[in-house]
């Protein structure tokens, strides 16, 4: 199994480690619910160094990245853009963050489990005037998330963190180490992600934990990362989106810029838009006891009407929540649906997203 630079530290902290897409990663330190609530109320520190980083540079890079992704990335230098990456048929290869580091310098931050596939697709179609490099081994990645994040990090930097607006990046020092700092995350909270040299990971982790002590910081594992992102209705690749789903049905229409001259998947997505989607990703809350899990059927009037893509107990709401694809005709806030849990029918209600 692959290990991040902080692997030993996680073991020393007593984390439960799991195989996450070929990486040995911490799923929890003290408990998922406790860590979840720490991030919502104070802050938590995650090691997400398994994420992949693909660099695209060269005179043709802006045109090429815009051809690759559905969203518009020809924006001010220093901005971070979330976007799906689609095949010609509109199916989602991956969802990623595009960091515009300089006018002809982009960093694509991709899901660890999709990195090889992404790299192959991106390389295959690349024109001669761009250079593509897999820099995943050169970056560790820490995510400091939660309302106290700015206060915690401020004592470790000598600039004003409030200057970094959401989805913006800077290259600055934290605790004397140069890194990319962005105001981004995957929890629905304010926070920062730090792209740093793996050699600096231990020291930076420890300095943040020390600074965060008075603010109630906790180390946070991938278990609560999942419950946090679900409450915020952020899609998880492999669960809510995959090659058989398109951005329009996944609630990601806002990331598809049809006014761009071209991009991979445009033709198929224009057709889907014009014909109307057949299903939509919706959120629901269970009214009876039970927990919806990925793959369970959704029924309306005793007929299959969709399937669950993600589901969990929600520590913030103290309810059982989920997301799933539902046939378009039933998509309506307040609609009563049934989740089939081990052949038991459990009542649920469609609600507005996000949950929090």
């Amino acid at each position: 199994m692959k290990k991040t630079a902080l692997n030993q530290l996680h073991h020393d902290l007593g984390a439960k480690m799991i195989d996450f897409g070929g990486w040995e990663m911490p799923v929890q330190y003290t408990g998922i619910i406790e860590e979840h609530l720490a991030v919502r109320n104070n802050c938590g520190l995650f090691d997400v160094s398994h994420m992949g980083e693909i660099e695209i540079t060269g005179p043709g890079s802006t045109a090429y990245v815009n051809q690759l992704v559905t969203n518009q990335i020809d924006v001010e230098v220093g901005r971070v853009i979330y976007s799906p990456l689609c095949y010609e048929d509109g199916g989602i290869i991956d969802d990623l963050l595009v960091y515009r580091i300089d006018s002809n310098h982009y960093l694509l931050v991709v899901n660890a489990s999709n990195k090889e596939k992404d790299f192959e697709w991106i390389s295959k179609n690349a024109p001669d005037d761009v250079k593509i490099k897999d820099l995943s081994d050169q970056y560790g990645l820490l995510a400091l998330q939660g309302p106290k994040s700015e206060e915690v990090l401020s004592s470790l930097v000598d600039f004003d963190l409030s200057e970094i607006k959401p989805f913006r990046l800077v290259q600055e020092e934290v605790n004397g180490k140069e890194m990319i700092i962005s105001r981004t995350g995957y929890t629905g909270e304010d926070g920062f992600e730090l792209y740093l040299s793996p050699e600096d990971a231990d020291e930076t982790w420890n300095s943040i934990m020390e600074s965060g002590e008075e603010f109630g910081i906790m180390p946070a594992g991938l278990g609560c990362r999942n419950t946090l992102r679900l409450e915020a209705a952020l899609c998880l690749y492999g669960n809510d989106i995959n090659e058989d789903t398109n951005p329009l049905e996944a609630g990601l229409s806002w990331t598809v810029k049809f006014d761009k001259e071209d991009f991979y998947g445009k033709k198929a997505l224009v057709e889907t838009r014009d014909a109307g989607v057949e299903r939509e990703l919706v959120g629901f809350i269970l009214k009876d006891r039970g927990i919806a899990r990925h793959g369970y059927d959704i029924e309306v009037d005793d007929k299959k009407a969709g399937f669950v893509t993600s589901g969990s107990f929600s520590p913030t709401l103290d309810e059982n929540i989920g997301m799933g694809y539902l046939q378009k005709e039933f998509v309506e806030v307040g609609k009563e649906i049934s989740i089939m849990i081990r052949s038991r029918e459990v009542k649920a209600k469609v609600v507005e997203l996000p949950f929090i």
Binding site: K16, V27, I33, T227, R289, G290, I291, F313, N320
Partner: protein, 128 residues
Amino acid sequence: MSIPAGFYYSEDHEWVKVEEGVGTIGITDFAQDELGDIVFVELPQVGDEFDKEDNFGVIESVKAVSDLYMPVSGEVVEVNEDLLDQPELVNEDPYEDGWIVKVSLSDESELDELMDADEYSSFLEEEA
């Protein structure tokens, strides 16, 4: 890791405590710790009959769904209804308030196939 004496233990990390032919069944401290925060327990009905190793319920933590297997054969005489609203009792007190079902044992000799506290402790060490 707590492994009280006087209980019988199964390789599925369940315990049985026997009093006057009735076995109280739960999961061990090791099992609750492995599962993490427990958020749902699906219980059988009083009167349901199970053979040893039958699936009699489901326990769900935030991250996983696990089946519960009977360590002994018998008929369910009581279920812990407190777990419906407070499944976290299994984490907090796995050997007392976090018990799951009580069954009238149909064959007490089955208990001989289970482990005592020392044997279960060695079993955990071997598994680790």
